[in-house]
Symmetry: D2
Subunit: 340 residues, 4 copies
């Protein structure tokens, strides 16, 4: 097999992060995220967010982050509202429900929730015989590679604030999502109550940074992540990586790199007349091939089968921080050979 | 501050493990623990356990491992029995109860459960108005540094089997625990139903290996760890470390090293007439100093305050894979100066 | 207000049940459902089911029954499949999710699940990144008054058995549901794994009888209902009522009575040219009136607003064991006056 | 068997309550506790509490009340503190833990918690590695028949308020508890944040009235009881009974009656030289007999075996609203014959 476009977590981590870990290998550091590297990382993130007052916590994985944040925010009878394609609804094996909460889903448009739908859902939930909608979950980028633009995010958050809903952004692929939208990192503080900055899918060994902007949600979250098994004894392992990724622009560079290569693939495919399932500006693209073409392509490359369609198949190519232009060019050449 | 004896997770990881990570940094690996390194690590562990049929799963932390295993085994109305000093009872912020289960505690002797106590507890729980005791949780070494010897473990497990209880060993410090007991690693398969081999506290960045010996408990555990937020996208990060630690004797060497230095400290302290709170053969020791001595010692070293006693204080020194003989000698010298 | 057609639980209980309670008022009875009346009631139900081997448990309410049964059957990572209109999905304020389980929904047809949909759902759920579908929940009659016929139930249950899914029937309105279908009470043992026989909505003060047919699900259910707060100290209060309702045909008579009156209303409305939202053969019917007509009708009768439609409104009339022919005739007369 | 002293829920309900139900049997009432009887009952209770501002909710059973209240008050990482003999710790089959919360226990004195113990427990719980103590659970009367006097309750509640703990009183046997203490019903509003007034063990078919005094705890509790399966469709069944029990002094009369008969038994037993396990002023008493005597007594009466002691056995006699002086005299005569 030449290369895997299966996902953006096939490679260990960016060399600069591994170097940073290497450099710290003779240190002793305090446990549970109370170390100097975690502090430094938090300060760097706060600087780039232009937000002194937020609270930041490092955990290991996205499902952990989602389950911890959502169960921290909601009361037992409250539900989280998600697009039906949302990661918490489809791909977390009931992790949110395991904390006691319904994931209430809406169809969305292009993988994104709209204010109109949420408004209708709130009207439908009027009394104690139905769950109370307590918060809204979205992701940037979404599960199908699309992004919310600034106006959309602002409209969502304004509506949430008016209606006593908390807005939470799952940023598993935040770097790629931001690079493809008109939303700047330092604007996020005004566009949601809480988010997480994904590391696992953006060049780290593992690690996500949960950021609380809303003061009302901050209290006792350290108790909560311990209660959910998400507190790391060696919190500094994640802290060191975030410190290195945010010291200069590395975190954002990786997202831009991913999008550029995915954009290159996307354009080349279109020129070759290969249809795409959706118009994704981020690091996931969904070309549609015949079954036979897919079979042949599988001999050379790894990728996800996304959606079987009558006699065709939509597949998914994901680019990562480690994907090179060369391998992308080679892929296109191989596809050219395939379709002739 | 000269050195921290506060815990065994102050240092990043053993250099051989970091090397192994470095070597894999240009690879692409499959996600979710389905990669070649995880496979190799599992095979190495199975070899050393002399047990082909066990199932092994890697997760990031001890609380995660405990909550995942316990909630996998128990039915909703069942409780886990633990020594009152047990980690799941005292230091996991209700993580087990968060999965819906009572931690039923017994006082134990020297941090260890006895068959007699468990038998009495079972007699006390006779009908549906009380929880059903479904399993027994112990750790090797225990929270206070003691170890179960082989006869004790065998008696416990025999009793558990006769009484339809599952026995689970928390091996957060298994390497140190085994090095101090007459139990061999390859005997564990006959002494419990499930255990975890701790990595975070034994020289790894993070990572624990859950091992199911009992066939009845194996099914669908991958679903369960995903449901509990404990499945790592980059499972190979843990796999690579376990592969390196079990390729030769490294995992066991680290435990022996810890115990040797703790034993050295223990002996020296006794010779100096410093009383110890308990007779611990593992890497945690609990000397008793006057309040004033503790205060002066805190200027030079970091350590846990374990138990305030009238006019004295029991403190805890923990040695790690990275602790050197030199720093231990220096500590003893400083204590000598202190008590003169 | 002349009369409430709002639901079938507006009246205390059938006089024969109140008499039975009165007769037992000087007795002493054992607690927790271990009394002679509960035993007698269970035997009567078993006789009518022609099923000696089933296990029967009395609880107070439908949500309790559903939450207890579903959380008893499922493992933590498993979901229950329901029609999107299902009571557990819409009207239980997240009670199933509160026990840790996802309610996975399918649109259904006429409020009923089809084998084809379930088959597709199973195909979609193939690995540990998604919940495992563990059981199927249906109700007889459904939330919108329709019923499964015998062939439909058999097809569902056959499919479930082939695919290792448990089938559970919510019988909140079982008496009315059976009276409107070709399914006999004694055939239910071969058409599902577990069900509950509703009392609260069929003439009792409160009380539901959970019936386990499948041996694999029977163990320790008494522990489970206690764990879910559903075990009654005075279990005999429910036992006495079920004894009286099943001594002769009373339970089934009440359902037939309800359906007859609802059928009368349905026919009369059709003759008056009033459209009905659905073709319901049971005790719930859904006529569609203009907004103005609804407003006027509300001055005379109580009923639920079911579904606002452009310029019309679908409302719900429910008949109960206590509804009389006279009041139904009067309602029709009032509607006649209204629409002229 | 002559009579059962096994518990105070062996008899259906007080005749006045059954009469009240009978009288309402031709009415139609609104569902879910939103009916005129529930309103009237709440008003009567508020009058007797001299507290207009409290919120009252009716549920069916004690475990339900406890689980609903406790999980409503606590955040996920918080624990409820209870005496180790507390009902929620021993006799609810893990129902509190099933809602995700640890029951943290203290030994207490005579079944009652002391301020000193709670203070020590708070000191012990200082950081996020241990549960946060969020509330204190006590019962009046306690599991072993003792009562808190007013000074004790005040001291507890003062301490709780100073330390941001909520105080909850389980009043399963409140009528008997108050009758034996110097605490008046109308003083309870100043002695706790929330309590429940027990009906099942005090002459009702079933039913408990949860009373929230503290404004901070009131919001959305109707959602919460629905979420926990504790909302009754026919809420008026409980409302009617509480209305009848509180219209005049019936509820309090029943408790006094129980205590008088238990006191009579207690005194007579002492005169006969039969030792009592504890000094209980309420409706539960714990005489100690030889094994042989117990065996003979079991031929005539039903009662609980409370605590096996070397060669003797402590048993429990409970008097109820329905117990007569005659049967108590007969019991004493039979015991006289037994011990001669």
């Amino acid at each position: 097999m030449k290369y895997s476009f299966k996902n953006d977590y096939s490679e260990l981590c960016h060399p600069e992060l591994l170097d940073a870990l290497q450099k710290a290998s003779n240190e002793q550091n305090a446990g549970y995220g109370l170390d100097k590297h975690s502090d430094a990382a938090k300060n760097l993130i706060k600087e780039k967010l232009e937000c002194d007052q937020c609270d930041i916590h490092f955990v290991t994985g996205g499902t952990q982050a989602n389950a911890s944040v959502i169960s921290h925010i909601l009361r037992p009878y409250e539900a989280v509202l998600s697009c039906s394609t949302g990661h918490i609804n489809v791909h977390e094996t009931g992790a949110i429900e395991a904390t006691g909460h319904k994931v209430y889903t809406l169809p969305g448009i292009d993988g994104k929730l709209t204010v109109a739908e949420i408004e209708a859902a709130l009207k439908y939930h009027q009394d104690e015989h139905m769950v109370k909608i307590g918060m809204v979950y979205i992701s940037q980028s979404t599960e199908i590679g699309t992004v919310y633009n600034k106006a959309e995010l602002k409209a969502l958050y304004d509506f949430c604030k008016e209606n006593h809903l908390y807005l939470y952004i799952d940023g598993a692929r935040l770097s790629s999502g931001l690079a493809a939208s008109d939303v700047d990192f330092n604007q996020l503080k005004d566009l949601c109550d809480v988010m997480y900055i994904g590391g696992t899918k953006i060049g780290m060994l593992s690690g996500e940074a949960i950021v609380f902007f809303n003061d009302q949600l901050k209290s006792y979250f350290r108790y909560h992540i311990k209660n959910k098994g998400a507190m790391l004894a060696k919190g500094y392992v994640v802290g060191i990586q975030f410190e290195a990724a945010f010291k200069d622009d590395l975190y954002f560079k990786m997202g831009r790199h991913e999008n550029e290569l995915a954009g290159f693939l996307s354009n080349e495919l279109k020129e070759l007349g290969i249809p795409l399932l959706s118009e994704s500006p981020t690091n996931q693209i969904f070309p549609i091939f015949s079954k036979e073409q897919v079979k042949k392509l599988q001999e050379l490359y790894a990728f996800e089968i996304w959606e079987p369609m009558e006699d065709k198949i939509a597949i998914r190519f994901v680019t990562s921080w480690a994907t090179t232009k060369e391998v992308c060019i080679e892929l296109i050449e191989d596809i050219k050979a395939l379709i002739q």
